[in-house]
């Protein structure tokens, strides 16, 4: 049995409104790292909320179909065990803070404390989360005074302290500059191996770095589910994300008959340089 099973899920935010998810069927096994990709408004963020158990709510329910985690709907698990199933980290770091804790340490302690766990276990969970998310130096700071990148690390640490089966990240780096983005991605890459990670993102770069399986959403439907190479070869991928300029340059040269036969199209700048530098140097008209 897969950890998450979604069966023909149809969903819209308002009854009779535009369909946001139009028949999603998806299975996610424990330990997978899966990226949900798509254009703006393709439904990826909504699907991420379903997977994390933030949907359905009393006001927004499935039209047909549904989602089970470990064989049951989220609503059928009791309130104290749900936090251990899935945790969600969204786009706006400050919104993830509980508003209950005056220090980073207490923010992480908040969740396990709510579950009434024994003190020794809570301390062990906190120190694990602090180590994994590299928060040692910040543990006495006021959570609201941290930078966005630091707050996002804290929100992941607080999620990890609940020891969830699944961590859902909804465009976790979309509001950051390149430096903080890379730091956070390094952090996410180092998360425990057994943790199931679901990443919803509009950036191909982030997804390629973190995930092994890719689901492409288009107007609320899954149009691709597979590995990186096949994703990049899929015609809609180029249309939705645009191809990197280096890839386009290689294609122009190929169509002019100037790209060496049998060499695959480059996926990275480094790959393009390693093909084109020797080629141009050999042409003799060099700088």
């Amino acid at each position: 049995m897969a950890l998450i099973e979604i069966d023909n899920l149809h969903f819209s935010w308002t009854p009779g409104g535009p369909g946001v998810l139009a028949g999603i069927s998806l299975q996610i096994a424990a330990g997978e790292r899966i990226a949900i990709l798509g254009a703006n408004a393709s439904g990826k963020s909504t699907l991420a909320q379903w997977i994390a158990g933030w949907l359905p709510t009393a006001a927004a329910t499935a039209e047909t179909g549904g989602l089970t985690v470990q064989g049951k709907a989220y609503g059928d698990h009791d309130a104290a065990s749900r936090p251990g199933l899935a945790q969600f980290t969204g786009q706006v770091p400050m919104q993830q803070l509980s508003g209950f804790a005056f220090t980073v340490f207490d923010e992480i302690a908040f969740g396990p404390g709510n579950l009434g766990l024994p003190e020794a276990e809570i301390r062990a969970r906190i120190s694990d989360a602090i180590r994994i998310c590299n928060l040692e130096a910040l543990k006495d700071r006021d959570p609201f005074s941290l930078s966005g990148g630091e707050q996002q690390r804290l929100s992941i640490a607080a999620a990890l302290a609940m020891q969830p089966e699944i961590l859902v990240l909804d465009e976790p780096t979309s509001n950051f500059d390149p430096e903080s983005r890379d730091a956070l991605l390094d952090q996410i890459e180092r998360l425990p191996a057994g943790l199931t990670i679901v990443l919803a993102d509009a950036s191909l770069t982030t997804a390629l770095r973190l995930a092994a399986r890719f689901v492409l959403l288009d107007a609320g439907r899954i149009i691709f589910d597979g590995a990186a190479a096949a994703l990049l070869a899929h015609p809609r991928t180029a249309e939705i994300f645009g191809l990197p300029e280096i890839r386009l340059a290689a294609e122009y040269l190929q169509s002019a008959g100037l790209w060496p036969a049998g060499v695959p199209m480059p996926q990275s700048t480094g790959a393009a340089i390693s093909v084109l530098r020797p080629l141009l140097a050999a042409s003799g008209v060099s700088q």
Binding site: N40, S174, N175, E179, E245, I246, A249, L258, L280
Partner: protein
Amino acid sequence: MSAPILDLRGAGFGYVSNARVLSNISFAIHPGEVVALVGRNGAGKSTMLRLLNGLLRPQEGQVLVQGADSAGMKVAEISRHIGTVFQAPEQQIFNASVESEIAFGPARMGLTPEEERARISDAADRCGLTEVMATHPLDLDAARRRFVALASVLACTPALILLDEAQRGLDRENRDRLGRIIRDESAQGRAVLLVCHDMDFVAAHAARVLALAEGHLIADLPVADFFADAAATRRASVEQPGIVELSLASLGEVALNARAYADRAAERLRKGKP
């Protein structure tokens, strides 16, 4: 050259009990220009943006807006010449429909009803919002919300538009749409300033780069020259776009897009062939 829309002469600013956030900044922006403002977080970009749209006034030097010293102008007056699209459109949206949100600016400009309607429908059309005019802006997805904020600025036809990370999180279709709007503004003799971390977007759309580091303007260069300047890109903490890296490594010069690179490379490869 025509008179500048914006002219900074030795402008500087520091918050109370703090060192100077910006020191001795001088540059001008002329009609038709597309300029990128780059630099790492904390380099002074947001303070600069506030100096340009009048939310802050320089404590030393001058900021001239259409030739007049901004010190004597209200923010509302400056906003007729300089429009700003902020990072979080939710912070400026308050009307109950996309149409009334876009109409907010033109309604206070003393236009004829026909002119006003034409402005609104033109801005909505360029931003791809024609079909959602009756929708509440906050019921739209994040990308279209950003375009509502942009349309409400476009409808006021300011001489200069400041775009703060407007490309962030947009898919290809929406990036192309934003790119078209920037080109059209420039073609109509208006100017655009992009505050932007995304160097692919800068390479594709800007003609000139202003780089900030620790509150100083460390470079004011045509975009190709900026990317070729290793010291400046490093100080501004800027990643070179892949195509620039490729062209520098294989051609020894800067190409800003795939087409330009492929043309130069093809020319050399054909010449080199026996």
